[in-house]
């Protein structure tokens, strides 16, 4: 049986607030045509913590200093055997895209290339930090991400596009992020928690 082409794509600081403001065509299309939800994350406004909750598929209650056993032993990675692309938890050069913070086009280009190169082999878990590192040209960066998503998602069977928190606001990030997927959110009238995203992807990758 062919492997499921499933993509879990975390885009830090992507916010619904940019969808209309920046006229993001593909994301607005997804908003109308895919399953959608709102990620709520008030505790872990840091990409590494947020990803840890997703990959552990459980609520993180305490601080962590280092990952015992490494990121590849985390339940979601281990159980889905997913390929990691630019996930903030991992320092390895094979997985992280090493570029300067201002070079968003390069990060987006490399991440896109790596996802497309790996998606035929099985599930992919990818991260993008370009928007989190941006303060001024938010719509330019969002537009580039929008175009990249269009190019990537047409090559996958199932996907989750999420952000662990929203746009920067008053020195923090807004606690509400994006959830767009080929699978519905677990509870219709509730926000989605980070560990629930991991569980949905687990089911998706093992379908």
């Amino acid at each position: 049986m062919a492997k499921q082409k499933a993509l879990l794509f975390g885009i830090s600081a992507l916010s619904y607030g940019y969808f209309m403001k920046c006229r993001l065509k593909f994301l607005n299309y997804l908003l109308s045509n895919a399953f959608r939800g709102v990620v709520e994350n008030r505790c872990f406004q840091n990409a590494s913590y947020a990803w840890l909750a997703v990959l552990k598929m459980e609520e993180i209650r305490e601080e962590f200093n280092e990952l015992k056993g490494g990121v590849f032993s985390l339940p979601l990675v281990e159980k889905t055997n997913a390929k990691l692309v630019n996930v903030p938890l991992v320092a390895s050069k094979d997985v992280r895209v090493q570029i300067s913070k201002n070079d968003y086009r390069k990060e987006i280009g490399i991440v896109k290339e790596k996802i497309l190169g790996a998606i035929d082999e099985g599930p992919v878990i990818a991260g993008l930090m370009a928007l989190e590192n941006t303060r001024e040209n938010v719509c330019d960066v969002s537009g580039a991400i929008d175009k990249m998503l269009f190019d990537v998602l047409k090559h996958v069977d199932e996907f989750i596009v999420f952000s662990p928190y929203g746009m920067p606001r008053k020195g923090k990030f807004e606690p509400y992020g994006v959830f767009l997927s080929t699978r519905p959110r677990p509870h219709e009238h509730e926000t989605i928690k980070l560990w629930e995203i991991g569980k949905i992807f687990f089911e998706m990758a093992n379908a």
């Binding site: 619904y16 209309m20 908003l31 709520e40 929203g166 994006v178 009238h189 509730e190």
Partner: protein, 138 residues
């Protein structure tokens, strides 16, 4: 006192009121109201735009920043938010059937509503209309 003097005085008076409201808005920002304080607020403010929302509602998170932005532009109008999950009485009184819904109040009465998300420019047209009613209607 002739008509032109009266008109000038009226303009000056409304400008003073607007300036006072502007000052007030700078301090207040977009307020969160609930079942307890909604009526008192609506009674004590002439023009109010109410954003009915819920945390789990994705389009609500598209609309809210647009209203926040417009609140800085139309400072004579009070912009408030009501979390429909936490304020079911107010939401049912105004027949909030889907989210987001934006209600426009003038002198305590609902006079217009937008259901869902519309483009920024379209929302602004409706708010500008409320603004005109606020200052220029007899």
């Amino acid at each position: 006192m002739d008509d032109s003097e009266t008109s000038e005085m009226k303009k000056a008076f409304f400008k003073t009121v607007r300036d006072l409201v502007d000052e007030n808005r700078k301090v207040r920002g977009v307020l969160d109201l609930n079942d307890e304080n909604f009526d008192a607020f609506i009674k004590s403010h002439r023009g109010v735009v109410v954003d009915f929302w819920a945390p789990w509602c994705a389009p609500c998170h598209i609309l809210s920043p647009m209203l926040e932005d417009l609140s800085l532009k139309y400072r004579g109008i009070s912009f408030v938010r009501v979390n429909s999950d936490e304020s079911p009485l107010i939401s049912s009184r105004y027949y909030i059937m889907s989210l987001p819904t934006t209600l426009f109040f003038l002198d305590g009465q609902p006079i217009d509503r937008i259901v869902g998300v519309l483009p920024y420019e379209t929302i602004e047209v409706r708010i500008a209309w409320l603004n005109r009613k606020l200052y220029y209607s007899e």
